[in-house]
């Protein structure tokens, strides 16, 4: 694995510092953190939950979790953005499971890359994402359908069944694309 790709970026270090201050109950740090990452986490929640009001509530929950668990975030937990995004995604998936939202609401989902009237973040696409040449190379090895299914699952929170219905392919085929896609990534990342 390319060690340079794993080195914390300036953005990572900024987030780590803010999380450290949150752990010390510094409310200013949480506000600064919110300003930096809430547009990314809100986009993530909106894509999965498909309901703006529900995503707003989930965003509150996510920042409350971040505030409460900031003390638990240590270097061993890796990149801060991955940690926070995981809190958001797992919260959204949990809400989907509990509320049984989603499948019938797909029509409400904003198109990928579309920007709502009040959605200007100024952040620039993926400016928040640490670069990883290796992961980019590995993703490029996937077939078009493998990549599409993985992205629908990760970004939209779609289940196997959702994906099969949305792209009009048999469930077994979708499961196979995802399984093989993940296996290909694993082999590539560890080679």
């Amino acid at each position: 694995m390319n060690p340079a790709a794993e080195r914390p970026t300036e953005f990572d270090e900024q987030l780590q510092s803010l999380l450290g201050r949150c752990a010390a109950a510094d409310a200013d740090a949480l506000q600064r953190l919110y300003a930096l990452v809430s547009p990314i986490l809100f986009a993530c929640l909106t894509r999965i939950l498909r309901r703006r009001a529900l995503a707003e509530e989930a965003l509150q929950d996510v920042f409350i979790s971040i505030w409460q668990q900031a003390g638990q975030f240590t270097a061993i937990r890796g990149r801060p953005m991955a940690w926070m995004m995981s809190i958001a995604r797992y919260r959204a998936i949990d809400l989907l499971r509990r509320e049984r939202y989603a499948p019938t609401l797909v029509a409400e989902l904003p198109e990928r890359r579309s920007i709502d009237a009040d959605s200007e973040s100024g952040g620039g696409s993926a400016a928040w994402l640490p670069s990883s040449e290796l992961m980019e190379r590995c993703l490029a090895l996937l077939s078009e359908m493998q990549a599409r299914c993985l992205e629908m699952a990760f970004v939209d929170g779609s289940s196997h069944e959702d994906i099969a219905r949305l792209i009009g392919s048999p469930l077994g085929t979708v499961k196979s694309w995802i399984r093989r896609g993940l296996r290909s990534l694993r082999q590539c990342l560890e080679s």
Binding site: A43, E56, G78, R113, S121, V155, I178
Partner: protein
Amino acid sequence: MTPDNLEIVDRLASEYVLGTLRGLARRRFERWRTSTPLVDQRCRFWEERLMRLAKDLTPVQPPAHVWPAIQRRLKLTTPRHALRRMRSFALAASVLLVVGLAGLLYWRSHQTIHATFVSTISAKSGEHVWELEVFGNLDRLVAHAARLPARPAGRDYELWALPKGGAPVSLGVLPSEGTSSRILTAIQKRALAISSQVAVSIEPLGGSPTGQPTGDIVFVAPLRTAS
């Protein structure tokens, strides 16, 4: 763990992080993650790698009312609000300061600070493991480690308030030695106010990653009003 098992762990971790592991299998895997460092490590590996699948995600500015709602839920006060409030009360404060200082000096010379709630967490043998004290208006929690049983490698003990009719609320990781002191959040204070018991669970280092107990509950102790 055999290579075959490692492959299964890795496959499940990737599906869990991707989000396609659902239902009971997902909940079982979450419990496994919190009790098994290797599983947690593989999840973190995939969380950091699969994040790149979101590279086309366009940031969306949340509505302006969300941040104040978070502040309200956490009972946070911004410096600007604090400053405004300080100005409002400056005059009264200056008058009260003289009286207050005199009172404080008198009080300090006659009183010691008492806890509001206390709890003693004991082993089955009766030996005290931790002494807990909650001070003020449930503002501060102090935990004194006494005689700890052997701690499982790579694990922490985490303290939980058990509010009546609600889910456990984390009060943080307990010290393995010495004394720890922490300021409680509004959620923790609310939970403590309606709890008659506290519990201790075994969690991954740093505490439960889910915000709920994930490992075994090893101690439950009553929370008593300090006499």
